[in-house]
């Protein structure tokens, strides 16, 4: 296998693994956060506005780890610097 095919294979495999493993943690975390917020709203319906706002902000913060993984896998698939390097090396 030449280096170009190797880079392609490893990139595709790693992109899939990145988003697959990276989604597990945030999914569990968001589930816990949403469950806690729902029970908090059930106990104190008056505070629903503030709880909802805090919930949205914390969901976004939890989700950002998954978004980092997504960005990494998108870079690996569509803007891979090593792919470009070996492509230009193969041309020249």
């Amino acid at each position: 296998m030449d280096s170009l095919a190797l880079v392609a294979a490893v990139s595709i495999f790693t992109a899939g693994t990145t988003i697959a493993i990276g989604a597990i943690g945030p999914a569990l975390g968001e589930g816990r956060a949403a469950a806690q917020a729902l029970s908090a709203i059930a106990q104190q319906p008056d505070e629903a506005n503030r709880i909802t706002r805090t919930l949205f902000v914390s969901l976004a913060m939890i989700e950002s780890t998954a978004i980092y993984c997504f960005v990494i896998s998108m870079i690996l698939l569509f803007a891979n610097p090593f792919w470009q390097h070996f492509l230009s090396a193969a041309d020249g």
Binding site: R50, R53, A60, E63, I67, F70, V71, F78
Partner: protein
């Protein structure tokens, strides 16, 4: 496929290439400026007002209320900065529905610029509020040994702010582009609706986080009103 509108060059003027990010950023700015100029040209203060003035009043009052809730302080000083961030991001995210428009927030350069604005605004507001000594003393807050961690936290949350917005907006664009190739017509429309929701929520979150960072830097550390809704990253 382009994962950033930076790569699309619209006009090439030799050393200065106008890419899609710059063009659409100026378009959004022009749109916001023109719209607010047109509405505020004829303001009325009696019971009968134009519907656009009503809209603008609702938007401004909503932002003031949100800022007051988060900062527990008079929103007047923070409204220009936080409100501008929110309006710019929400307009460019919503205009993503227009065919041919690439949201400038889907480029890492734009979101980094916005995050750096927040990074600069936090010490500015804190120093205006309580003076440079009190602001710098916060870096030594629990103990002196926390100084490097406080600095790292300051930088990492700026990066997180930029990458979060970029990742969310870019993922919407890329997913729609992929789905148009795989399952055209109906399914991409659903994902675009989801992207609309995500865009508005992300604009809200960007503004709220900026406000939370500013508020946590300006608030006196006597701890009488230590806020429970103060996420740390």
């Amino acid at each position: 496929m382009d994962i950033t509108p930076d790569a699309i060059v619209l006009v090439d003027l030799g050393p200065l290439a106008i890419n899609a990010t710059i063009a659409f950023t100026w378009l959004v700015m022009l749109f916001l400026t023109l719209a607010s100029w047109l509405v505020t040209r004829r303001l009325s203060d009696d019971a009968k007002l134009s519907r656009f003035q009503n809209l603008l009043e609702v938007v401004v009052f909503g932002m003031r209320d949100q800022i007051r809730d988060v900062a527990r302080a008079d929103p007047g000083r923070y409204l220009p900065f936080i409100g501008t961030l929110f309006l710019f991001i929400v307009t460019s995210n919503i205009l993503a529905m227009v065919p041919g428009f690439r949201p400038p927030t889907g480029s890492l350069s734009t979101t980094t610029a916005l995050a750096i604005c927040v990074f600069v605004a936090v010490p500015l507001y804190a120093i205006l509020e309580s003076g440079p000594r009190a602001y710098l003393a916060k870096y030594l807050q629990p103990t002196v040994f926390m100084l490097p961690f406080n600095i790292i936290g300051e930088i990492s949350r700026t990066i997180a702010l930029a990458v979060r917005l970029y990742g969310n907006v870019m993922s919407g664009t890329v997913i729609v582009a992929i789905l148009i190739g795989v399952a055209p017509f109906f399914f991409p429309v659903l994902m675009q609706l989801l992207g609309l929701l995500t865009g508005v929520i992300q604009a809200y979150i960007f503004a709220v986080l900026a406000m939370v960072y500013i508020a946590s830097a300006t608030r006196s550390h006597t701890g009488d009103d230590a806020s429970p809704d103060e996420p740390q990253t």
